[in-house]
């Protein structure tokens, strides 16, 4: 199939005498993605491929964290105690992280429903749900900023910390920082897409953009599931 397309393109290019043949090929090859996953919206396929590459980035972080943690001889700081908060006079282990997890899962829930209402062409509900998702996401980032501030005050640095293995700080800042960056970018994207929904921008071209934004958002939640298990519960 692709060879046929390419020959056609070659001939047209020769007739026109256009020099940027390499550029034409590049466009044709990437546009050919629509053929490979026929009837899948091209933007959706591309978002999935981006998420696949992102999977490998986060996996690299988590695998290097595993390698460091299982090769140090100094004791690893106990996440249960490091991330404990004193609420109502009681020290509750890992409570901030638990709340952050619930906030992010809730935002995934509102996003899933936003996609659904988008395809029903209910603009107001879709935008409202997306704004709710963005607010929950911003709350998550805010709590993460609080957590970072707390740990930095307690003396955690990428090269040292008061409790044990030095590598703790480097893994913590790198992994949660990269994830937080993804959440922040997601919040901005959600706000943009939601305001476009409200303005009726997708009435003609369809609401695939909401689903694509949703894919990214759910992925951020998905990554958190792994970080929660491996970084905070190990």
């Amino acid at each position: 199939m692709s060879t046929v397309v390419r020959t056609d393109a070659d001939e047209t290019a020769m007739e026109r005498g256009g020099p940027p043949q390499a550029l034409r090929d590049l466009t044709a090859d990437w546009a050919g993605d629509q053929e490979a996953f026929c009837q899948v919206h091209w933007g959706k396929a591309m978002m999935w491929i981006f998420l696949l590459s992102d999977t490998f980035i986060f996996s690299s972080f988590l695998v290097s964290y595993m390698t460091m943690r299982s090769s140090v001889t100094a004791p690893w700081p106990n996440a249960s105690e490091v991330f404990a908060l004193t609420l109502f006079g009681q020290s509750i282990p890992l409570i901030l992280i638990a709340i952050m997890t619930f906030v992010l899962i809730s935002s995934s829930g509102t996003m899933a429903m936003a996609v659904n209402f988008g395809y029903r062409r209910n603009r107001k509900v879709t935008a409202a749900l997306m704004f709710a998702t963005a607010i929950l996401g911003a709350t998550f980032v805010g709590m993460q900023a609080f957590e970072w501030t707390k740990l930095i005050h307690e003396g955690v640095r990428p090269w040292e910390n008061p409790w044990g293995a030095e590598q703790f700080g480097a893994s913590f800042f790198m992994i949660t920082g990269f994830h937080g960056l993804h959440v922040s970018a997601g919040v901005i994207m959600l706000l943009i897409v939601a305001s476009k929904v409200l303005r009726g921008h997708y009435e003609q071209r369809g609401y695939a953009a909401v689903e694509i934004a949703g894919l990214y958002w759910h992925f951020v939640d998905l990554v958190w599931v792994f970080i929660f298990a491996f970084f905070y519960l190990w």
Partner: protein, 122 residues
């Protein structure tokens, strides 16, 4: 996998709007949402009640994989996608298993090298 509602894309007028006529009902999302809450609470409980050893790992990994599976299959609509896309996305990450295994072996080697040659330090 492909018999869920919303997959009759062949009859759909515009590919981008494949979900227009038969999206999964809101009730399903609410159920999955609740399930994710319960699973998160359970993994938190593993830490709260300080379950240790092999059981801790079995529980954490099980809850993690269940949550990840629900998010990908339902929230990200993987259960309703075409096979070509499902395989293109889900198969490549399996290679990570090799990386994890190799790094696990390497970490073990580094650990014992440090124990043997650096005393208990570093």
């Amino acid at each position: 996998m492909n018999h869920a509602p919303g997959h009759d894309v062949a009859h759909s007028e515009a590919p981008a709007l494949a979900h227009d006529h038969a999206s999964p009902p809101i009730a399903l999302y609410l159920k999955i949402w609740g399930l994710l809450f319960v699973l998160s609470a359970l993994s938190y409980a593993v830490d709260y009640f300080q379950v240790e050893g092999a059981l801790r790992w079995i529980l954490i990994i099980t809850f993690m994989l269940l949550k990840a599976g629900l998010i990908v299959a339902i929230f990200m609509h993987m259960a309703w996608e075409r096979m070509a896309l499902v395989y293109a996305i889900l198969v490549p990450p399996l290679a990570l298993g090799t990386l994890v295994y190799l790094m696990w072996v390497e970490a073990d080697y580094t650990f014992w090298t440090r124990i043997l040659f650096l005393g208990a330090g570093g």
